[in-house]
Symmetry: C2
Subunit: 344 residues, 2 copies
């Protein structure tokens, strides 16, 4: 292969509100790479295939002086996230051409790595589509699995409310809850999403843009578990309709990522109803240690044999990534958002 452009998606400036394609994040094709001859200096060259687009990325588009749970993107450099690529050249022991690399990769067509730090060779024994390893078999899958196992204390007959029910995390949680005999209330923001959630077996499904969450929960609650992907007014409604001793699994609050956080007025419900709120990150070493082996043993199998359902929302071409990044913040994706950078 001759010298080719090495397209990248750069962090251009900190968004004030939603990330704007071409302004806050932009595709750039000024760099080139000679994939046959670029010096590896003992490392390996990866051709990037699929990259995950997740709500949490908005937190990385911030002033780096503000400390948070995740590093800030650096202005002028490539974005990066969970991804899968394939090794096309290697001088690194233990990594060979054709190996699939799973981990944190840049929003680029190609990248050279000096070591396997935060990377692993994908052992895809179930022959799943690679994209699943950044979705339900990857980070969002782990979020749902870890959070469910550690915090739900689910009992058959409990009522659970899942907001953001059509996303990779929410849809997995719905299926875990279904398998354990819970009654499921779930919300999403479009007809297609509602249809998908219904197909997973949720009992009460509603479009929060049409029906008020508070009204549904008043009618269908109280809830014993709230899986929160949304925060804000949705969380406030869940607090108002929680049963005594309910568990709140705080996984995401996308309602506040691009607009100022809606302030919550009814936190006294935490005491009055003896609620337990569990905030967690899928990067927690404790949860990883406790559950990751089981996750790897169980989940890919269930996906392979069709016992777990999923949807994916593909964006083809890295040049369209800035739009995909915005879409996930707005909620225009149906299912796990994945950028297909290259076919193999």
């Amino acid at each position: 292969m001759p010298v080719v452009p090495n397209g990248r998606v750069l962090f251009k400036e900190i968004p004030n509100g939603y990330p704007i394609p071409g302004k806050t994040t932009a595709y750039d094709e000024t760099q080139t790479i000679d994939t046959d001859n670029v010096p590896l200096e003992g490392g390996f060259l990866v051709k990037i295939l699929v990259i995950s687009v997740d709500p949490y990325l908005r937190a990385k588009m911030r002033d780096p002086r503000i400390k948070m749970f995740t590093e800030a993107f650096i202005i002028g450099e490539s974005l990066y996230n969970w991804a899968v690529g394939v090794v096309i050249r290697s001088e690194y022991e233990g990594v060979k051409v054709g190996d699939y690399i799973n981990g944190t990769l840049p929003f680029q067509h190609y990248a050279i790595f000096k070591d396997m730090n935060e990377l692993e060779i994908l052992d895809n024994t179930e022959k799943l589509p690679l994209s699943l390893y950044v979705g339900v078999a990857g980070m969002p899958g782990r979020s749902s699995y870890y959070g469910w196992k550690e915090f739900s204390s689910a009992k058959k007959g409990d009522t659970i409310f899942v907001s953001g029910g059509a996303g990779p995390v929410g849809s997995m949680v719905i299926q875990f809850a279904k398998a354990e005999g819970l009654r499921i209330i779930a919300s999403a923001g479009s007809d297609d999403k509602i249809k998908f959630i219904k197909s997973l077996g949720a009992d009460v499904v509603f479009n929060y843009k049409i029906t008020k969450t508070a009204d549904i929960l008043k009618k269908e609650g109280p809830i014993d578990i709230y899986w929160d992907n949304v925060g804000g007014e949705t969380l406030e409604a869940a607090l108002d309709n929680a049963s005594m001793g309910a568990r709140f699994i705080e996984c995401g609050m996308i309602s506040g990522y691009n607009e100022s956080q809606y302030p919550i007025h009814n936190l006294f419900r935490i005491i009055a109803c003896q609620l337990k709120l569990f905030g967690f990150l899928n990067t927690d070493p404790y949860l990883h240690e406790k559950y990751d082996d089981n996750f790897r043993q169980e989940i890919p199998k269930l996906l392979a044999n069709g016992e777990l359902q999923y949807t994916e929302h593909f964006t083809y071409g890295l040049e369209n990534a800035p739009k995909a990044l915005l879409d996930v913040q707005v909620g225009n994706n149906l299912g796990k958002s994945v950028i297909v950078v290259a076919e193999e």
Copy 2:
């Protein structure tokens, strides 16, 4: 004894804001009782000695149509709360003259009971002042003990912040934390309270009316445990200054009992810092079952031999109870507020 007035404190109307002595709660002496001859119909007659005044009573002064964790007071009837009285006549098997009765008693001088429902005979083996059985050896003591044991996951060297540090709950928590080698930050609202908290061994003590909680926590934090008696802006400051994995023990939110609850803007910190928020009530049967025997074995002994310190704020005369009820909401009491209805 001849016929005597049976003074009572009545719930007159639902307060709009703070409870107003003489208006929302009022002392009434229109009823009389012939203590020698009043028919007991198989029950027993109690002379009430001490009654607890607690922040949570504000929740009972509400529209009874609003469901909450505690029953509403009934307009026109006596208030009631944790109290100790002495039996002066009895026709009830197992209850004899001179027995001390501990449990929920009305704000009255005398009351007749038909059974021991929600009452127990006080077995004061440590010869503690009776008032302690509505304070650090009673309900507030149990709150502090149950919450600490169940939720703190305290480790030596952890930093804890206790708001409302001079109250019976907060001051017990400070002493539990001290005993386990924690670094203690504590707040209260007057010089006397600050002095008391310092005497308990807290490391950083401040008057939240003079110094901003957020400033202190920014300087002295981050905090690994927050014991919340206050809610509102104090909780918001604690969220902003929590360490990764911090535990928030949600025991009270007095800042919102009489004024509208300050809305919390930064709940995303729950996720970003993997916080766990534990709301609880001392009436939880699970906690009672798990910890009450230990509480009864440990705490009165530690109080008797001086290993646990406390302060009490006595109001003499039932006629002054309406003022005492207000004072506890405002924070004018130093230590556990107790109404001394009668000497034995």
